[in-house]
């Protein structure tokens, strides 16, 4: 039987760095199967898929689609061959309707020139029906949830009659429930005759969805396995090249416990918006604890992050830091007061990609390198080298930040913020998109800070992470605190129960916080 995709001996070397992102990789995709392409950050998964989708040209190697060998020079050519790719970051126009987004670039025409909106709607509705999606073709994309936007991206590919679909980390931005429904969709697609490749590094997802798993490490293909024949531990070992325990060792904190950051009935109301973005939120973060915040996207965690970082002014309530009122401080004031902050959006908030690594590292501490207005280059250089070393960042001080891999960018941000920390630190989605080794490193550092008496605020959509690390957990639903789980309750709480709080099915009685 011929394969849907057969890649042989793919070599891709990035010019400039000389990095062999793909080093003689073979990949087989059978028809109607779901294949997970797994590996650590920087293992070369995305590069391999970019080669398949015509976004990168391989330095050597061959690709055969449905048994015919063919070079692929562009995504358009890939589409023509029946290959589609859904990127990690959506490429949609918020103002356009679902149908208009789907047909973009391949619009049905009437009289050759005019855009046929009626046919557009009909055709897209048909695709949506055939594959049992639950989106309204006439709704503007801006009004959809993240999960629905992803469905639009998939429909976009199906509309183009794609029978080989690549999804780059499709679950990274989804909630547990959305992931489940995505998996239902993907299984249905496979049953319909589509062959799928999922790039992922989440072990339980590999087990849940795939027929086979292909594992890459450092630009090479380690091998492919029938998913039933390997367990999570084995996959992890193959990805990492060594056995790593996934459990986190947490010691009890015996130091002084004092309130560091305190929210009292904090609300954020925006004009023209019925529901407050934050509604009377109260909590206190103490020294020596990790206070976890959980919630489904769009329920106020992002707003909380913006408030903590001084990006969004609050309309009501007070925020105090060590007893001092900081309710109306902006980012610059907060920084002066010793705020350390790891933002969720590491590319557009946490770093300047065209600036050098050194310049990125000193942004919050820049004043300490100044002598009569002049920056001490040597001291910056030395400090940078030490930090890159301590945090094992693969990169040099003078390299532009944008040339580093995602994991290394995050490490630079972590290094900067952890060094900047005085008594409290905010982490928002700190391990989003990081591989296991890097995530463990972040956890270790976070616990180290806590053991040294820091008030750590952890905002994360990753429940495993929240449950494993937090000393207390606050759950948000529609901008309010619906539950505060104390240490003793955390021992018994299940993910299902947390899910019920997060979806607003359940809420704690009595005053919160």
């Amino acid at each position: 039987m011929e394969h849907a995709v057969e890649m042989r001996g793919i070599v891709k070397i990035y010019p400039g760095t000389g990095l062999r992102a793909n080093d003689g990789v073979d990949l087989l995709l059978q028809k109607n199967e779901i294949l997970c392409l797994a590996g650590e950050n920087g293992a070369g998964k995305t590069t391999l898929m970019k080669v398949l989708y015509g976004l990168e040209r391989p330095d050597s190697g061959t690709i055969s689609i449905m048994g015919t060998q063919t070079p692929i020079h562009s995504p358009l050519e890939a589409n023509r061959l029946g290959i589609g790719m859904v990127h990690q970051h959506f490429m949609l126009v918020d103002e356009f309707t679902v149908a208009q987004n789907v047909v973009m670039g391949k619009e049905p025409r009437r009289h050759r020139f005019t855009y046929d909106l009626v046919t557009t709607e009909k055709q897209v509705a048909e695709v949506i029906d055939t594959h049992h999606f639950s989106i309204d073709p006439n709704k503007p994309v801006g009004k959809l949830t993240v999960g629905q936007k992803q469905q639009v991206e998939i429909v976009k590919m199906l509309y183009r009659n794609v029978d080989i679909l690549i999804l780059d980390e499709p679950t990274a931005v989804l909630t547990e429930q959305e992931i489940e429904s995505l998996f239902v969709t993907l299984r249905a697609l496979a049953a319909h005759g589509t062959s799928l490749i999922l790039i992922t590094h989440k072990l339980h997802e590999i087990k849940a969805i795939s027929d086979r798993v292909a594992i890459m490490r450092q630009g090479k293909m380690v091998g492919d396995y029938s998913t039933a024949s390997v367990d999570e531990r084995e996959i992890s070992r193959l990805m990492m090249g060594e056995s790593v325990s996934l459990s986190i060792d947490k010691k009890p904190y015996n130091g002084e416990k004092r309130p560091v950051l305190r929210f009292d009935d904090v609300s954020v109301v925006r004009r023209n918006q019925e529901r407050p973005l934050l509604n009377k939120v109260s909590f206190t973060a103490h020294s020596g604890e990790i206070l976890g915040f959980a919630g489904v996207g769009g329920n106020g965690l992002g707003v909380l992050e913006a408030v903590l970082g001084g990006f969004l002014p609050i309309t009501e309530g007070t925020i105090t830091h060590n007893g001092e009122d900081i309710s109306h401080d902006d980012s610059a004031d907060l920084r002066r007061n010793g705020l350390a902050f790891v933002p969720a959006d590491r590319l557009s908030v946490g770093s300047a990609l065209s600036a050098t690594v050194a310049e990125n590292l000193i942004i919050a501490s820049r004043k300490s390198y100044v002598n009569h207005g002049v920056m001490g280059k040597k001291r910056i250089e030395e400090r940078t080298r030490t930090l890159l070393d301590t945090y094992s960042v693969k990169g040099r001080s003078h390299m532009p930040m944008g040339t580093l891999s995602g994991g290394n960018i995050q490490k630079v941000i972590l290094a900067r913020e952890m060094e900047q920390y005085r008594d409290h630190i905010v982490f928002s989605e700190p391990t989003w998109g990081l591989d296991i080794a890097s995530s463990l490193f972040v956890y270790e550092k976070m616990l180290e800070l806590r053991d040294n008496g820091a008030a750590v605020i952890l905002i994360s959509s990753n429940l495993d992470e929240i449950l494993a690390l937090s000393d207390r957990i606050i759950i948000f639903y529609r901008g309010t605190v619906v539950a505060l789980l104390e240490a003793k309750e955390l021992k018994q709480v299940t993910k299902e129960e947390m899910g019920a709080y997060m979806l607003g099915l359940k809420r704690q009685e009595g005053p919160n916080g």
Partner: protein, 352 residues
């Protein structure tokens, strides 16, 4: 140490890579010039010879060419400062003209103060340009008004007002020109390459380039300005004052234009003539674009622009083409530098 040496070795290669785009643009512009000469001139060979070699044939022409570049260097620096902070200053025309005017009348008023009066006049000229551009920065900061539009509109108004002032209250009745009186001889810059017009203003221009370079690369404020320009969100997150860096770079940018205007008066024109500076503001913008907003690269870019201008003047004197040929070539350059595609040629693609 080894690492440092390796970087030094790669520097020329990097420089070449970064300037490929600019060189392609210059080649196309000069190609257009050759074609125009072939089409428009009866003696294209002669025209081209005077165009290309004229500015270099003797110290007189060469000095005049370099002299033309001086205000362009100031303008180019001004634009670069604004652009590095992510602000657009399209008001160079008015800022330069206004700065020149204020510098002239201040020099006339402060003549009794001697040297100090000259310094004060140049300072006030710079402040005039700075305040004009700064207004756009303040509007941007307060109400998020596009500084690109407001600086352009404001500048157009200023040009008219200054022209009125020169033709009206401040006109020197003793000359037949529409111009202010001449600044005292003691304040005029020394000629440094007789018999040409090249003045000591060149030294100031070179010092200004050095200062801007040091400011951007070595000082804390320069660092903050660059970070703000590269990613305002990141700058805000890092605790940099967003308000300040909306206004300050615009102010600096206008101040350099204003200073450039003052330098043109003190070094070359001595009196502020009506509309003497038409085009200098825009050419400053083009120079900055060619230079990729790098202060040091502003020098060759300004010289190139001046070269085209004096080449055309030469060809006009000795052959049968008009001065407009320079405007066309400059327009082509302007048009091409704004095409970011060409600018990106040879630059390393970002590896994600």
């Amino acid at each position: 140490m080894g690492e440092e040496r390796k970087r030094m070795r790669f520097l020329p290669a990097k420089l070449a890579r970064n300037s490929v785009g600019a060189l392609v643009i210059l080649a196309i512009a000069l190609g257009v010039l050759v074609i125009l000469s072939l089409l428009l001139s009866k003696t294209p060979g002669k025209t081209l010879r005077y165009f290309f070699l004229g500015p270099l044939q003797n110290t007189y022409y060469f000095g005049n060419m370099v002299n033309t570049a001086i205000p362009l260097i100031f303008g180019g620096l001004g634009i670069s400062l604004a652009m590095r902070a992510g602000s657009f200053n399209l008001g160079g025309e008015g800022q330069l003209y206004g700065g020149a005017f204020v510098a002239t009348i201040s020099a006339l008023a402060f003549a009794p103060l001697g040297f100090l009066g000259g310094v004060l006049a140049l300072f006030l000229g710079a402040m005039t340009g700075g305040v004009l551009a700064g207004i756009s920065g303040v509007l941007r900061m307060k109400w998020n008004t596009s500084e690109l539009i407001s600086s352009f509109l404001l500048s157009n108004a200023v040009v008219l007002i200054v022209s009125y002032l020169i033709a009206g209250p401040f006109m020197d009745p003793e000359t037949n020109l529409i111009a202010t009186g001449k600044i005292p001889e003691s304040l005029r810059f020394m000629r440094i390459l007789e018999p040409s017009n090249l003045s000591a203003g060149l030294y100031f221009a070179l010092i200004a380039v050095l200062l801007v370079y040091l400011y951007l690369q070595k000082t804390r404020s320069g660092y903050e300005l660059r970070m703000f320009g590269m990613n305002p969100m990141f700058a805000k997150y890092g605790g940099i004052s967003v308000h300040w860096y909306r206004v300050w770079p615009m102010f600096l940018s206008g101040a350099f234009y204003g200073l450039g205007g003052g330098m043109a008066i003190f070094g070359t024109y001595y009196a502020c003539m009506k509309e003497f500076s038409v085009g200098m503001g825009w050419n400053g913008l083009a120079v900055a674009l060619i230079a990729g907003f790098k202060p040091v690269a502003v020098i060759p870019a300004a010289l190139f622009f001046a070269y085209i201008e004096s080449g055309a003047r030469n060809a006009m004197l000795h052959s049968d083409v008009t001065f407009e040929i320079a405007s066309i070539v400059q327009a082509v350059v302007f048009f091409l530098v704004t095409s970011s595609v060409l600018q990106q040629i040879g630059k390393k693609r970002r590896v994600l």
